[in-house]
C-alpha cells in the first residue's frame, strides 16, 4: 500500500467515525454532549496539528547546531593538506 493510500484510508476511517457520531447515522442515540464535542472535532484536530507543526519546526530551527568548531577544524586541515600535498609534488 502506498503512503497516499494509507493516508486516504486513515482519513476516511476518522471521517466515518466522526460522521457516525455527529449525525447519529447508526441511530445509537448517543447522549447530546457526545455529538456536541464530536461536531467541531476535525477543526480542532487540524488546528492542533498546525500548532504542533509550527512549534516543532520552530524548535528545530532554533536548536539547529551551528558547527563553528567543525568549520574551524576544516580550515586548519585544508592548510595542512595544501602544504603536505605541495611537499609530495602536487602542482595545483
Amino acid at each position: 500500500m502506498t503512503k497516499l493510500l494509507q493516508w486516504l484510508f486513515g482519513v476516511s476511517l476518522v471521517g466515518l467515525v466522526w460522521a457516525v457520531v455527529t449525525f447519529d447515522l447508526l441511530e445509537l442515540s448517543l447522549p447530546r454532549p457526545y455529538r456536541e464535542v464530536a461536531w467541531p472535532m476535525p477543526l480542532y484536530l487540524l488546528v492542533s496539528f498546525g500548532c504542533y507543526s509550527l512549534a516543532t519546526v520552530g524548535y528545530r530551527v532554533a536548536t539547529f547546531n551551528d558547527c563553528e568548531e567543525a568549520a574551524k577544524e576544516l580550515q586548519e586541515q585544508i592548510k595542512e593538506a595544501k602544504e603536505d600535498l605541495r611537499r609530495k609534488g602536487l602542482k595545483m
Binding site: S53, V61, F64, A70, Q77, L85
Partner: protein, 256 residues
Amino acid sequence: MLSPLVSNTRKTSTPGRDNGDKYSVLLPTYNERENLPLIVWLLVKYFGESGYKYEIIVIDDGSPDGTLEIAQQLQGIYGEDKILLRPRAKKLGLGTAYIHGMKHATGNFIIIMDADLSHHPKFIPEFIEKQREGDYDLVSGTRYRGNGGVYGWDLRRKLISRGANFLTQVLLRPGASDLTGSFRLYKKEVLESLVERCVSKGYVFQMEMIVRARQLNYTVGEVPISFVDRVYGESKLGGNEIVSFAKGLLTLFATT
C-alpha cells in the same frame, strides 16, 4: 610505534578490523579542481589512521577546469590501488555515476559523499563502526540528530530545510532523519539494487534511495554529521529546487 598493549586494546575495541572488508569511496566530481586534492588527502589520513582497507574512485564528468588532470597527479602520489579514475565524457546523472563507479569497485561496501568538503571524512570510521554494530544495510549521515548540524546556513535556509524535512517525515514516515543528505555507506549489493530502482534527480534522488530502502526492508543506521557549507552568499535552495523537491515528494508519496 604502538605498544603491544595499545594494539591489543585496539583490536578488542574494534573486532574484525582485518576481516576482509573493503570500502570503496565514490567521488563524483564536476569542477572540483580545488577541492579534490583536499578531500583525497583527508580520506587517506582518516583511512590510514583507522586502518580499514579502502579505495577512492573518482568519477569526473568531463570537468572543464582540469579536475581529471589533478586526479591523475593524485594517483601518482597515492598509487593506482588507492585512487581509481573512472571519467565520463560529459555531465550525466548521479545515479549513473554510481553505477559507473561501482562497476570497477573492489570493496564490499560503498561510501558515497560530496567532493566539495561539505562532508568530512573524519566521520567515515564512525559510519563503519555503526554499520558493524547492527549489521546495517546502509548507514546514513544525519544533520538533524544528536551532535549533527550545519555551518554556513542562514535562517531562511535552516527554516526551509527543517520545514521540508518535517513535511517529508509526516508524509512518508521513512525511518531516517536525514533524507536529502548524500553522505552514506551502503553494502555494495544494496546500493546496486537501490540505484536500479531510483529514477529521481537531484535532492530527490537521495530521498528516493532511502525511501525505497525502507520499502525493501533494508535496515538503516544513522550517524550525526556536521555539514560545512563553504559556498557563502548564494543560497543553493532557489525557487526551482523547492518546486522540484515538492514534485519529487508528492511522486514518492503516491508511489511508495
